[in-house]
């Protein structure tokens, strides 16, 4: 039995790696995507373009504005002279944010009265808008604190000390890049396996296989192993890049991480082979993989938290192996989560993998043509 599985595995590897196109599909897009995602997929805002409409000439307003300019997050793009200029600058997306300081600003401040600052935000992209507002609010709060200290006036009766654990500078790259390990491993293993049986069916080699003494279990194993090794290799490359190129801390144990990777790849292969055994042509296989991958990625918590979804979708994500793997990745990388805390993520993936592999094996022989 092992001889046959071994022969099949060797053949799969040869077939996959001898073909220039499939070699490219397996290795190049993932690396390009890693770089693009790693650099482009970020929610952190830099260079927020803002415009200033300052009706006040006092030093306080200048100080406040210089804090904006010096923060590193904001870039001033225009100075406005009247209220009518505000609307075009936002409409045309020249500035995301307009800071409007009224004429009484300095005087009020000096008198100890609260002086308002108006911030107008372009809400077309609500997330960017909200983040930009948060950045602005932080700057204003800082300003308030120094102002109170300097003027000796009592500040608010309590003050807020905020700290972020696991990711002290709140860099979204720390959140996104470990997720990419899961995303790309899923894409590659699913594509490799989803097309493997369909390709054999299309080329007629599957019939040739079925008339040999090989058993469905052996076919499953022979088809699983190459995807498994490629998945592991792919994941390892990306993990190395994550740690050494993107400088993201790996705080937990590598063993725990690889337990997760192995279970996750098994579940992904299970789904891939299941698609494969249902598809008659490679095109159907590709379409099937696509139909699985898009929702799986969206509903995994990769970019947006599952907690924000409506309840019925949250329930649906329980079927998605990537969901569990995301928790494991971020847990191990950033939180240093120990093995026992992740058990509830491990077993669902194992179940998903086993169920799918079993069904796929059954379908190999019983699927009606």
């Amino acid at each position: 039995m092992w001889r046959r599985v071994f022969a099949l595995t060797v053949k799969e590897f040869l077939a996959l790696l001898k073909d220039k196109k499939s070699r490219l599909v397996v290795f190049i897009p993932p690396l390009v995507q890693l770089l693009v995602f790693g650099y482009a997929a970020t929610f952190d805002l830099k260079n927020i373009p803002f415009a200033v409409y300052n009706e006040d000439s006092g030093s306080a307003s200048r100080e406040l504005l210089s804090r904006f300019r010096g923060s590193g997050n904001f870039t001033e793009v225009a100075t406005l002279r009247n209220e009518g200029e505000i609307s075009p600058v936002i409409n045309r997306q020249k500035a995301l944010l307009v800071i409007h300081i009224g004429p009484e600003f300095n005087r009020n401040l000096l008198k100890g009265r609260t002086s308002p600052v108006q911030v107008i935000v372009d809400g077309r992209n609500s997330n960017t808008a909200m983040l930009a507002m948060n950045y602005a609010r932080t700057i204003v709060n800082e300003f308030n604190r120094t102002w109170s200290e300097r003027s000796g006036k009592p500040g608010p009766p309590a003050h807020l000390v905020t700290r972020a654990w696991f990711n002290p500078n709140l860099e979204s790259r720390w959140f996104i890049v470990p997720g990419i390990v899961g995303l790309l491993t899923l894409v590659v293993t699913t594509l490799v396996t989803a097309l493997s049986v369909a390709r054999e069916r299309e080329q007629g080699t599957f019939d040739q296989l079925l008339v040999t003494p090989i058993r469905p279990v052996e076919i499953i194993m022979g088809k699983t192993l190459p995807g498994f090794f490629i998945g592991i290799a792919e994941a390892t490359i990306i993990i190395l890049a994550t740690v050494f190129w993107f400088d993201i801390p790996l705080r937990g144990s590598v063993l725990t991480l690889y337990t997760g990777i192995i279970l996750f790849i098994l579940s992904a292969i299970g789904i891939g082979l299941m698609i494969s055994s249902l598809a008659v042509t490679q095109q159907q296989g590709l379409l099937g993989a696509f139909l699985f991958l898009v929702p799986a990625i969206i509903l995994s918590g990769f970019t947006t938290p599952i907690a924000n979804m409506p309840p019925f979708l949250q329930d649906l994500t329980l079927l998605n192996p990537l969901r569990y793997f995301m928790v494991i990745l971020r847990g191990v990388f950033l939180e240093g989560a120990p093995f026992h805390r992740l058990i509830n993520q491990f077993w669902p993936m194992a179940v998903i993998g086993m169920v799918n592999l079993t069904i796929a094996g059954w379908l190999f022989r019983h699927r009606l043509y």
Binding site: R3, R4, F6, A7, L8, V10, K11, L14, A15, K18, D19, Q203, G204, T205, D207, Q208, L209, L210, V211, T212, P213, I214, R215, Y369
Partner: protein
Amino acid sequence: MADLQLQGICKAGSGDAIITLLNVSKSFVTGKRTIQALDNLSARVQGCMITGLVGPDGSGKTTLMRLIAGLLEPDKGTVTALGRDATAESLLVQASIGYMPQRFGLYEDLSVSENLNLYADLQGVPGDARQDRFQELMHMTGLGPFVSRLAGRLSGGMKQKLGLACTLVRSPQLLLLDEPTVGVDPVSRRELWSIVSRLVREEGMSVLLSTSYLDEAENCTEVIMMFEGQILGQDRPAKFSSTMEGRTFTVSVPDMKGRILQKKLLLREDVTDAIVQGDRVRLVMRTQGNPDASALVPGAPDITLRPVQPRFEDAFISVLRQQRSARITDREADMKPGPSPGGNGGNVIEVKNLKRRFGDFYAVKGVTFSVERGEVFGLLGPNGAGKSTTFRILCGLLPPTEGMLSVAGHDLRRAPSAARAHIGYMSQKFSLYGNLSVRENLRFFISVYGFTGNAGQKKIQWALDQFELGDYAESTSNDLSLGHKQRLAMACSLMHEPDILFLDEHTSGVDPLARREFWHRINALAEQGVTVLVTTHFMEEADYCDRLAIMTAGEVLALGTPAEIKSGVRSAEIPEPTMEDAFISLIQTSARGERSS
């Protein structure tokens, strides 16, 4: 009026060339190999008649067609069709020719009439003239009752006829047909031919047609024989056969199987060709003159030798044999690497009332037959007759809907996997791993059958020697020629010494020489006690079988030895029926029976 026009276009036999090729060369690059498809070829094709383009697979027939249709540019030389340069003025040439590629691009999800309308639009047939033309075409092709059926649901023969109709929507001056009868059953084949000859006769059309069926070459006015991108000869078919005068005979020896006689004959140096025809063998000698009958086969004094009319095929094989020195030697004696399991008689395959349903359509409706050990059994029938379905059920690839079957005592679908080690299977199309090398394919299949290490290596070496693949061991299978691919496929299905061999249309698309080679191997295997089950739509191949079943529409029409089947249709009109005659007559009888019931 029509006659006037006819004379305006061309005069048959006047020597006016409708196609002229001058020093044309064309090569393609596939993978690392460069294939010289056409090599400095010059030819003239005359109008108002059917010119046949004959040659083995890969001789450049399709490339030549595509050059004339302006679909390819020659590397060198000029191609002129209808007086215009086919490369520079391709749009104009295309406006007055009809071209039917080997796989005509029918839109399978369009109905018959929608396909016709599309091509009428593309060819600019005005709306009022269209209906008359369609009527005529439907009448001609017999597709009238199927106008609203989707093209994908038509049988192979009907598809070809529709393809022809689509190229004829605007009666072209020159019609190019690339292997129009491949995979078409004999009845449809005859119909296609009668349509084409009518077009030439009545509409004064010029036709250039390529074919790998050599009997069709005899229907052409003139034949161009091609080989490896060059022209070996161009003449009337009768001229070709006349060179074989006095070299062709049939031989028979009582109580000697045809294929054993054939093998003995082929071992002789002075024999060019010998093919089995039931219990007789058709013999082509190297030189003219009556051979000494008693000396032909040692130990067979009661041999009968009768001279017969030479055929085009004899000339073709004879010319090819001169080109390719490859001779059938006695290496087939060693076909099977190990000792044969022996055994004597007994049914190895048994099928009773086998049925298979797809949806509400029965592909196989109650088939019953049995095959003895060491027998070559043929399943014969047109496309869609249910041969392949029966085949797949026997191999365990499809479950039957109803009925009993046993292959070597097992139902392969439920049998333990070890039972499958006793069968070999070679499917219709090349089904090995294309991007693996020859050696890698062999190694994979032999290890799947459980031979590793030394034993495996030995088997691989045996296969490479036996099938003359040694030189290609490291080349990628996809880059092999069709003939070599078939050899590799056969090697893969034989290496593990199966007791039963399933061959599904393994010779379709293979040239006559390669086909002969395969049959020699099959015969040698049968000699050693291997049971062989083949499907084919080549009527002549039916003659090579010990017994056969003729199938149509999922039913067995006739079952027996080739001689029995042929004698069943003998009548006053056909005193010496060929297998094709038998087939057509059986099918027509069954169709009539259906209509009357």
